[in-house]
């Protein structure tokens, strides 16, 4: 392993521009999340060297015992080809070569990088062993399951000892059962991978279970970089809030005993006092949907925040239901299915929503 990868890149394709600055340390897994078209795959292709940068640079190493290797630097027109970087790439489909056995597929990288046939095969067998495919090494890709093929693709990517492993929605093409098993296998294998991993995904579960750090991209920009725990507690954009299932409102602080926050349209939300907030500071307010209570009458006196709302939609999952609410503030409530029946929650129903001030988390934007 040759040190941390420093990424500070800009890439313009047509009228889309991606800018991202990240440090990718050895042994860490960084999940990249974002809506479609946010630039996740573009970022991956740029890191792989399959797309040239239009600004910025990618450099590897740079501490005392590792000299810097520049992978790309737009200003000097420097671009290391994928062949000359040490990257492994796994896509949603395994993309194994159909005319080669799993062993020869896995040996393809070492062979391409100059290993002898025997060395390459030995290396391939080691890698296949680590993903539990040693017994199937002689099979062709069409004679194994999709989950096995995807594990072989991982073995192939790791057989070249990459500094950087790139996973582009690696579990998205698998059926749900295979997906959760393969997720566990992937987690297991990544634990003893020495290099940095970048995992592009749509699935919050992938991100929360596999990654040390989450990077959220929106419209070509990084909107939040956090640990999974911090991102869940304090989302910093509506997209992140949606991924982690919280209500998120932007507002301006009006400091008093408790903080009152003016959000859009002059609505005031009372929140617990966040530390050290100046009057007029921009804040995010996060509200857990399960803290949003629904009443047929205005909420009882102890609830500081109460608004008239109209039910927009209801979706049931097991014993819980998500209720989309329209009103002075757009809100999602999570209630029991019993409450759905008791309150007759259907689209168009008029109710009151209440949130205790202690349930509103406010933090600087």
């Amino acid at each position: 392993m040759t040190g941390t990868l420093h990424v500070d890149l800009g890439l313009t394709r047509g009228d889309f521009t991606l800018t991202a600055a990240l440090d990718l340390a050895p042994g860490t897994v960084t999940a990249v999340l974002g809506p479609n078209g946010s630039g996740k795959s573009t970022l991956l292709l740029a890191l792989a060297g399959l797309l040239p940068l239009t600004a910025g640079s990618i450099t590897l190493g740079g501490c005392a015992d590792h000299p810097v290797t520049t992978w790309a630097e737009a200003e000097r027109g420097l671009h290391l080809r994928p062949q000359d970087r040490r990257v492994g790439l796994v896509l949603a489909e395994p993309m194994l070569l159909p005319h080669l056995s799993l062993r020869d597929n896995t040996a393809y990288g070492p062979r391409s990088r100059g290993a002898s046939r025997a060395q390459a095969r030995q290396r391939a067998d080691e890698e296949l062993d680590r993903v539990d495919l040693r017994d199937l090494a002689d099979r062709r890709p069409d004679a194994v399951s999709t989950g096995q093929a995807q594990r072989a693709a991982l073995a192939r990517a790791l057989a070249t000892d990459p500094d950087l492993l790139l996973l582009d929605e690696p579990l998205s093409a698998l059926d749900p059962e295979t997906r959760s098993r393969t997720r566990a296998d992937l987690h297991h294998r990544l634990c003893d991978f020495a290099g940095a991993t970048v995992l592009v995904t749509h699935d919050p579960l992938d991100a929360l279970t596999l990654a040390d750090r989450l990077v959220f991209l929106e419209a070509g920009r990084v909107v939040q970089v956090d640990t999974p725990r911090a991102a869940i507690a304090r989302p910093r954009s509506p997209y992140v809030a949606r991924v982690v299932g919280l209500n998120l409102l932007p507002g301006t602080a009006r400091v008093g005993h408790r903080v009152e926050v003016e959000v859009s349209g002059g609505v005031v939300v009372t929140a617990e006092d966040p530390a050290e907030v100046a009057d007029g500071a921009a804040l995010w307010l996060a509200i857990d949907p399960s803290a949003v209570a629904l009443y047929e009458e205005p909420a009882p006196g102890s609830t500081r925040n109460t608004w008239p709302v109209v039910v927009a939609d209801v979706t049931v999952a097991g014993q819980r239901a998500r209720v989309g609410l329209e009103g002075p503030l757009p809100l999602q409530a999570e209630v029991t299915t019993g409450a759905v029946a008791d309150l007759g929650l259907r689209a168009g129903r008029r109710l009151w929503a209440g949130v205790k001030a202690t349930e509103v988390t406010a933090y600087p934007a």
């Binding site: 792989a48 399959l50 062949q83 790439l89 896509l91 993309m95 391409s112 990088r113 990517a157 070249t160």
Partner: protein, 276 residues
């Protein structure tokens, strides 16, 4: 909702077809006339064959020399087409240069060009006074027209486009992400071409090669114009058939039925690999 409706619809159509709509005759008569136009001459050719004398006819000096020459020139052509045509197909399928569509258009011209015009064009290029033929003759003393090399050049000229178009289509159908994966694994573009692209378009290469070889085997117009009709040197099977028709019609029929058999064989192999 949609599926049952469609199923009912098609079932009705099928029932009506089987019951026999009288109006179908308006289509079936010309259809069978077309079949007759194509098949009658082939059947007539087979009926003309003197089966007992066939081995002797094919062993005659004129026929045998032509068969050997055709085997030599068409296999040489096939090698040239494979070695040069596969990279060309790759360039057309993967190239991003703005000139690529123009190159593709130029490469397909010989597909539709009358072969005799091809022969005249080859003479203009490689003839003694031709653009390339002049310098070749003056400086190196090499003359191409009316040699076996000229036969191969003529066959390559007419057969290459068939191969290139067929293989280019196969390569376009190949997922480009394989190239990206191979690159991250350390494979050079040449290694990717040889170990990823070529094996994955194998059926397309086989089909293109068969088409190109059959086209080279039947080549007549460009060959007789550019290479002449010299027994043992430039007289391939089609030229020998044309020559024998006056002196030895039995040999002409024998060679014709041989080529028919070879073409049917190629078609059969293609169907196996490809259409089923």
């Amino acid at each position: 909702m949609t599926t049952p409706t469609t199923r009912t619809g098609s079932a009705t159509a099928a029932t009506r077809g089987r019951a026999g709509n009288p109006r179908a005759w308006a289509l079936l008569v010309p259809a069978w006339a077309a079949v007759a136009l194509l098949v009658v001459p082939l059947v007539a050719l087979v009926l003309q064959v003197d089966w007992a004398g066939l081995p002797e006819d094919l062993a005659s000096p004129l026929a045998w020399q032509a068969i050997r020459l055709s085997a030599l020139t068409t296999s040489t052509t096939l090698v040239v087409v494979l070695l040069l045509g596969t990279p060309l197909a790759w360039m057309l399928a993967r190239g991003t240069h703005p000139a690529i569509p123009w190159v593709r258009a130029l490469v397909t011209v010989p597909l539709v060009l009358p072969p005799v015009v091809g022969g005249v064009a080859l003479l203009a290029a490689y003839g003694r006074t031709g653009v390339l033929g002049g310098p070749l003759d003056d400086w190196l003393g090499i003359t191409l027209p009316f040699t076996t090399v000229a036969v191969v050049l003529a066959e390559v000229f007419v057969a290459m486009p068939f191969y290139v178009i067929s293989v280019e289509g196969a390569m376009r159908g190949l997922d480009r992400r394989y190239d990206g994966i191979a690159a991250t694994l350390g494979a050079s573009p040449l290694r990717t071409f040889l170990t990823v692209v070529v094996p994955m378009v194998g059926p397309g290469i086989a089909a293109g090669a068969a088409l190109a070889w059959a086209r080279a085997l039947g080549e007549f117009g460009a060959t007789i114009t550019f290479a002449g009709n010299f027994p043992g040197r430039t007289q391939t099977v089609p030229l020998a058939v044309f020559t024998a028709l006056e002196q030895d019609p039995d040999a002409a029929v024998a060679l014709s039925v041989l080529m028919l058999a070879v073409c049917v064989l190629v078609l059969a192999v293609l169907r196996r690999r490809w259409l089923t």
